[in-house]
């Protein structure tokens, strides 16, 4: 059965993380789920706006919730930061009536209002809980063939509130990829923070946090790290060179989005999954699964 979702790509998926955007769209299409991009969505404000003005941060994020409410659909937000900010807006507006009133007063300036009905969903949640593992497995065409995977969930999809998976030891990606034939390595840092914007504001700290994430994956023999968040992806991938030169390490670990790996399992042609946007080549083991070589 086709279910529709209001797709909220978020700023980083537009261009910088186009591989995530492409693979989300492909995976949902392969599983017969329809995505309708919210027309004229705006930036959710990320974790940054919350530090400046609360009412403004909420109003900015609520504009998107209001647009989705008009469509009558759940929002699907792949970026962990968008997911958390939009959920948080829902929660605050739902529990503090004064805030709800204030935000709606602001939204009215743009001819909008929000009653609080939009559910905010992450694609991992939708895939595992709406579509369901059985339905996914029926469409799986390629076995992941023992690929050693470190599942990195990051912090924002499981916290602050209990959402759709355990807060300390989420298992949805583990279950998904194990069933697809992957081997999940021991990865106790699966919800440890990557530092997010600290890579810009406190670089030393950001580099150290990401070195720890990489070395934990390497020590446990991972071929790839699979992530759900654009910021984690960027920190782990784009800064791997810098981490190597700073700490004298030799990491060369490909970082994939979970939708990219799932796309391979679903038999989506590799060139549609945005692998050409990766800085670190996926390596022999993943390439052999797709029968296409990536330099």
């Amino acid at each position: 059965m086709t279910v529709k979702y209001a797709y909220y790509p978020g700023c980083s998926l537009e261009k910088n993380q186009r591989g995530y955007d492409a693979s989300v769209r492909e995976v949902f299409a392969a599983l017969d789920q329809e995505l309708i991009e919210i027309d004229d969505w705006n930036c959710c404000g990320a974790t940054v706006y919350m530090s400046v003005k609360e009412t403004v941060a909420l109003a900015v994020s609520a504009r998107n919730l209001a647009l989705a409410e008009k469509m009558g659909l759940d929002i699907m937000a792949p970026c962990s930061s968008c997911f958390t900010v939009l959920s948080k807006t829902n929660r605050i507006m739902g529990s503090i009536p004064e805030m709800h009133k204030d935000v709606n007063e602001a939204l009215a300036e743009g001819g909008l209002s929000y009653s609080g009905k939009t559910n905010v969903r992450h694609p991992l949640d939708i895939l595992m809980n709406d579509v369901g593992l059985d339905a996914i497995l029926q469409k799986v065409k390629r076995n992941l063939n023992g690929l050693k995977i470190a599942p990195y969930y990051g912090c924002q999809i499981v916290r602050p509130d209990k959402t759709f998976d355990d807060q300390e030891n989420p298992m949805l990606m583990d279950r998904l990829f194990r069933k697809c034939g992957g081997e999940m390595v021991y990865y106790p840092m699966k919800v440890r923070c990557c530092g997010g914007m600290l890579m810009t504001t406190f670089e030393d700290t950001g580099l150290k946090l990401n070195r720890e994430l990489l070395s934990c994956a390497q020590e446990n023999g991972a071929d790839v790290i699979v992530t759900t968040c654009p910021l984690c992806h960027f920190n782990l991938e784009a800064y791997q060179d810098k981490i190597n030169s700073t700490f004298n390490t030799e990491f060369n670990i490909p970082i994939l989005y979970f939708t990219q790996l799932l796309g391979i399992a679903l038999g989506v042609p590799a060139k549609k999954l945005g692998f050409d946007a990766l800085f670190i080549p996926v390596g022999q083991k993943v390439s052999s699964l797709t029968e296409v070589q990536y330099a």
């Binding site: 910088n16 004229d40 530090s51 916290r159 050409d276």
Partner: protein
């Protein structure tokens, strides 16, 4: 007896705490240190999260605001999830950041405020974040050399078609800007109202009282 500025700070902060769902739980801190132990960046803080709560109770607002701690928090919510008293520590740190920005306080990490301001400007003008503009302006104002450092990364992004050269405006950017201005106005309204209630006490008094007093006044 608190100094005037301490009392003001405390009031602004308490107002902010009032706006956090379950914010008043700050009074339930048992000083167990689970927050500090869970924090991935506590090693780089000058005041640990546990100490921060103790200092708030003791009325040391100014010292808290001067700390590196509030700026280095990456808001991963590990402390909030694990706190046995259910204290919303991450949201409390957000409230402290907002207090510092509102009071325009000098900070040990001005770069965080700089980034936050540029981010909001970016959103105001385009409606979506344009990373290129944000990062360029940020490093131009904080550290030119770092900007040059980033050129190889920018080239890699260009080669993999991940760099958006120019910012794009959303269609309804003007209407979004109106929403933002209105929300700012509403926020200002609140600030003005509440400053009349500057308290002169420490400990946990004053928590949640603001709303009551306001209601009485209405």
């Amino acid at each position: 007896m608190m100094t005037k500025s301490e009392a003001d700070l405390r009031q602004i902060f308490l107002d902010q705490v009032d706006l956090i769902p379950a914010g008043e739980r700050i009074s339930r801190c048992i000083q167990c240190g689970t927050c500090t132990g869970s924090c991935p960046v506590s090693y780089a803080m000058d005041i640990s999260p546990r100490q921060l709560l103790a200092m708030f109770r003791a009325g040391e607002m100014e010292q808290i605001m001067k700390s590196r701690t509030i700026w280095i928090c990456a808001s991963c919510y590990a402390c909030t999830t694990r706190c046995p008293s259910g204290i919303k520590i991450t949201d409390i740190i957000y409230a402290l950041k907002r207090t510092a920005i509102e009071k325009n306080m000098e900070s040990v990490a001005p770069q965080v405020q700089r980034l936050a301001r540029l981010f909001t400007e970016n959103l105001m003008s385009y409606g979506r974040l344009h990373e290129g503009t944000l990062i360029r302006k940020y490093y131009m104002k904080t550290n030119m050399l770092k900007f040059i450092d980033l050129i190889p990364l920018a080239r890699k992004m260009w080669k993999t078609k991940r760099l958006q050269p120019f910012p794009k405006r959303i269609k309804e950017q003007k209407s979004l800007a109106r929403i933002i201005r209105k929300a700012q106005e509403i926020e200002m309204r609140h600030t003005k109202e509440t400053l009349e209630y500057a308290p002169d006490f420490v400990g946990y008094r004053g928590l949640g009282e603001l709303k009551l007093e306001q209601r009485k006044g209405e």
